[in-house]
């Protein structure tokens, strides 16, 4: 046991180390790895096909990134807290199917299609939040590993959708589709609605993570759950809320997704979970939890869709190798933003 005098300088040394680390991180080039990767990709894309740099193409890419991007923001919180959610793709599919069925059913009794769509959107958000809280509840109170809980619901959600759809597709009625269309296809000041929503969710996520007590608790739990518990953080409640938050994010993404095709099928949202997790990790969040960045996550999500966009705009590489190119870029960017040992 160290005696009083030896332990006395410790707080000072620790504080010094922390501030030094903080200062070091501010100028850490690795922090900008995802940005560097994205800029390089943009240059390559423009060189390969001048149409790449057009406003329309950029908006196309950002709009289709919105779903994964919004889910990634929620996923970022879950991963920082040391958890994982594998079910988001299936959850999105089931929410999409559920909200379409509800809206089709309401269309008969509620006159205005706009009201029906608004009710459908509300339902999607509630359903998402509910699914997320159910995950959180099973994980915190049920003491089941998040990997197992969400692997289970991954199967459950998709199977229920397939059953509801009878193996086919659930399609939104035409009138509703027309009323709902602008949510995906409309734009404000030349920027598509989903991009605005993506932006708003990102800013809200960044504020929540970096400027609130909740955000600090999430990071504290991820770096050391025991210590957080001793520091009187209500660990279970915070964890429950991160899964609920992710569920709401999936709900928002689905609200934007449904008007695009107006249908949900068993292939809806397939492998979104891996894309969302990849976006978070490529963006510089530690898979072990404790530390992460919303801005990095956004860039990670955009980067992933830019790769496939460039591959579609060119035909220099055999289509059989598309996935290999994606894999190489992901690993390269992860290397750029690697942590110092």
């Amino acid at each position: 046991m160290p005696s009083g005098p030896t332990s006395a300088p410790t707080p000072a040394t620790e504080a010094g180390a922390v501030s030094a680390r903080k200062a070091g991180r501010r100028f850490d080039p690795h922090r900008f790895g995802p940005v560097v990767g994205l800029v390089l990709l943009l240059i390559v894309g423009t060189a390969l096909n001048p149409d790449f740099a057009t406003w329309d193409n950029m908006m196309n890419v950002l709009t289709r990134t919105a779903f994964i991007g919004i889910i990634s923001i929620g996923m970022c919180f879950v991963i920082i807290s040391g958890g994982i959610d594998l079910s988001v793709g299936s959850m999105a599919a089931l929410i999409a199917g559920g909200m379409i069925l509800l809206m089709n059913a309401l269309a008969g009794s509620v006159g205005s299609p706009v009201v029906v769509v608004a009710l459908g959107m509300l339902f999607a958000l509630l359903l998402g939040g509910g699914f997320g809280l159910a995950h959180g509840y099973l994980i915190t109170r049920g003491r089941i590993e998040p990997f197992i809980v969400t692997l289970g619901t991954l199967g459950i959600f998709r199977a229920v959708l397939t059953w509801l759809a009878d193996g086919g597709a659930i399609t939104l009625d035409n009138d509703l589709s027309d009323a709902y269309g602008p949510v995906y296809y409309g734009s404000l000041l030349g920027i598509p609605v989903p991009v605005w929503v993506f932006l708003a969710v990102s800013v809200a996520g960044a504020v929540l993570l970096n400027r609130t007590a909740f955000g600090r608790y999430v990071q504290a739990i991820g770096s050391n759950e025991q210590v957080a518990r001793f520091a009187a953080v209500d660990v279970d409640r915070v964890k429950l809320l991160t899964y609920g938050l992710l569920g709401v994010c999936v709900g928002i993404a689905t609200v934007l997704y449904v008007p695009r095709l107006g249908s949900a099928s068993p292939t809806t949202g397939l492998l979104w979970e891996l894309e969302a997790i990849a976006a978070v990790i490529v963006g510089g969040t530690s898979f072990k939890g404790g530390e992460g960045r919303i801005a990095g996550t956004v860039i990670g999500a955009v980067l992933l869709s830019v790769i496939s966009n460039i591959l579609n705009l060119t035909s220099i590489i055999s289509v059989y190798l598309n996935a290999a190119v994606q894999g190489c870029v992901i690993i390269a960017v992860a290397f750029l933003q690697r942590r110092r040992p």
Partner: protein, 330 residues
């Protein structure tokens, strides 16, 4: 005393079982040679995971309902599997527990299911293989499939004729498989004869609406003058149409899907989309035909032809009615 009694009882029971088995076996063997009194038909198909397999499951159950009603001495057991190993296990159960004498199987994978099917055939089960051929054709008695070459050839001939041998085409492909390659080679093979028809590019969109939407958006960014999009699947055509609508492009004259799904046939029938004029049939109904043909042949004691290709045909407004099944999920 009681020990002996129990032993005797077991002996009697055992002998009885053995005799019953012999009788059953005799009946089973008889079924192979002559017209059978009863036919126990097993149907093993993939589970409904997307539109097309959803249609397969629906048509299989449709065949079961109709045929069992028409033939009281026919018993059909339908099993769906979500992967090759599960299908192999189900096959064993069908043979040993359900004791089927005929089998209609839509194999998940050719190679993985060849051995399990061969084992069933060795137990005197009559085997009809549907859609995907086995690697060892001796494991099957009959092979019934849709025409994948025609699936690619028919749209190519249609486009060449309609646009007088001059058109710019972009194409979507499914998932890298031999099935997709057959269709693609048939399509490009026909169009090679027309020097003024250009296939600008073909990319995989995984038979998925969302991927088709994205790939088409990028095609539209990349190519300013497109006449026809060969979507090669009705689900993918759905995503293609949405992307074209969003880009407000007017140069595209036609989108050609494939398979003849309910909604697509209805669109052709009603003429409700100016970009949709025709389709090619590749209906999941072939499972229905396969079950019907096998059951009826077995009831009569006949054999099926070794290979039977269900022809694909061009669907246009004139004949669309024949391909419209409003109750099917696909």
């Amino acid at each position: 005393m009681s020990e002996v009694a129990r032993y005797t009882r077991r002996m009697v029971l055992g002998t009885g079982l053995a005799m019953a088995a012999t009788v059953a076996l005799g009946a089973g063997l008889g079924g192979v040679a002559f017209a059978a009194d009863t036919v126990k038909l097993g149907v093993s198909i993939p589970a409904a995971t997307h539109g097309f397999t959803g249609g397969i499951v629906w048509w299989a159950n449709q065949a079961k309902a109709e045929l069992e009603k028409a033939h009281p001495n026919l018993k059909i057991t339908v099993k769906t599997a979500s992967g090759a190993p599960e299908q192999a296990n189900q096959l064993q159960d069908l043979v040993t527990v359900t004791k089927i004498d005929s089998l209609v199987i839509f194999p998940f994978e050719s190679a993985a299911l060849t051995q399990p099917v061969l084992q069933a055939k060795k137990k005197n089960v009559y085997v009809t293989v549907v859609d995907r051929g086995l690697t060892d054709p001796s494991a099957q008695d009959a092979y019934i499939a849709g025409d994948n070459t025609a699936f690619g050839r028919i749209p190519a001939e249609y486009i060449a004729k309609k646009y007088n041998g001059k058109a710019n085409i972009v194409a979507l492909r499914g998932i890298p498989t031999t099935l997709d390659n057959e269709r693609w080679e048939a399509f490009t093979g026909v169009l090679k004869q027309y020097p003024d028809i250009k296939i600008l590019d073909g990319k995989y969109a995984n038979w998925n609406r969302d991927d088709a939407f994205k790939v088409t958006q990028d095609f539209l960014t990349r190519f300013k003058d497109i006449d026809v999009v060969w979507a090669a699947d009705d689900d993918m055509a759905f995503g293609v149409l949405k992307a074209i609508e969003q880009a407000k492009r007017t140069d595209i004259k036609e989108v050609f899907g494939g398979a003849g799904s309910k909604t697509m046939v209805k669109t052709i029938l009603d003429g409700s989309n100016p970009l949709i004029h025709a389709d090619v049939s590749y209906s999941p109904k072939f499972i229905y035909d396969a079950i019907k043909m096998t059951a009826e042949a077995r009831l009569k004691g006949d054999k099926l032809p070794a290979t039977y290709i269900i022809p694909s045909s061009l669907i246009t407004k004139e004949n669309a009615k024949e391909f419209y099944f409003p109750d099917s999920p696909y």
